[in-house]
Amino acid sequence: MDKTRKIDFATIGLRDALDLAVLIEEEAKERYEEFADSMEKHHTPAAAKFFRFMRGIEELHEAKLKGQRSELFGDARRVVTREMIYDIEAPETGEPRTHMTARAALEIALGAETKARAFFEQAIERVKDSSVGSLFEELRDEEIEHQELVRKMIAKLPPEDAGDIRDYEDPPVTL
């Protein structure tokens, strides 16, 4: 599935690549925030807590990349926009469920980190600018680190009774 629009990896330069990286983190941050809000609304506190934690991580990365961008390019205009990217590191909107367990929430994040890693791996093969290549390698390595972090968190969780989430539906109420 196409994850970008109008981005030519063969000609992308460092400024646009940094802007792209910032937007990828921003998209993931917002998605985790939406998930956390939704989980809170639907009485699923453990997953909400974890999604909020992930939101914080994405925010830190976003800030770091923004810093790099302004150090190197100041306020030079941005041509890469959010409309050009689709769920690169953001977990997909269809993933969460009411009363999902913390483990299921962590698995959603693991899936998101895995697809982000695959995205950077594919991008690395297409870029020609070496500074962009190094940036994408760095970002890919960070995704690998995140995967490890989430895997460790999953390993620490107590075993659980999966149950059937359909027993705990929480749909909106009728008017």
Binding site: D2, K3, T11, E34, S38, K41, T93, G94
Partner: protein, 294 residues
Amino acid sequence: MKEPTVLPTYQAKDFKSELKPIWCPGCGDFGVLQAIYRALAAVGRAPHEIAFVSGIGCSSRIPGYTTAYGFNSVHGRALPIAQGIKLANPDLLVLVAGGDGDGFSIGGGHVPHAIRRNIDLTYIVMDNQIYGLTKGQLSPTSPKGLHTVTSDLGSLEEPVNPLLYTLAYGAGFVAQGTPADMAGLADIIEEAIRYPGFSLVNVQSPCVTFGEDDNQVKAHRAAMKPLSSIGHDPTNRIAAMDLAQQYGKALHTGVFFKNPSPPPTYDALVRERQRSLAEKAVPRERLLDMFVQK
């Protein structure tokens, strides 16, 4: 990367309201909403130039989650209200949203009239084959045999086919998408908005709570067949109708039909008539003369 000469005026986030969706976590409508934000950004009209009308249902909450003018109206009555808005203020971009129940059950009678009048509206139907908001009753698009709270032994009814139905009534633009391909869905919605006339986007938007397990986003991703990949010609209405018959059996995504020579819209005809009548109109200061016997 090639520098665009003009940067887009609006971004997807400009269309996102403060209201937080209360849909069940994982509901397909979340993805549809994201696609709508992106399509609106691409179209580039200001939020205050857009009116978004819906009926009642989970999916009908969509207007409230955008910064456009919104009217979460009456069950099944989104289309007539939207038609009125468009005729009263033709400069507005008018979008209509709702569920398959809202659009093809209680509101079904309005669809042919919106189509035959060819009012410039974009109708986005979140077709989840169930009544979501009222907790899982049979809907007009539910497949035959479906077990629901109102069809405990399995539905005996043939479903409505929204694609074939709207094509048969002469809609100039008919497309189908799924949140499993958000980029593709955003493109379809953008194209529908840009089409000058009535356009339908039927979105297979899964209901995670009352929908079937094999009709969720992951299953869509595996099953979807983009029409572009099978060489479909979207200017051919008969070919579109042929493919539309696969509704419920195959998940075709993309534009089924787009009229290559769109006829004038009703709003354009009304404006044209107003202009021609205005030429013959009596000036305001001579209005009373009409009632004075000479």
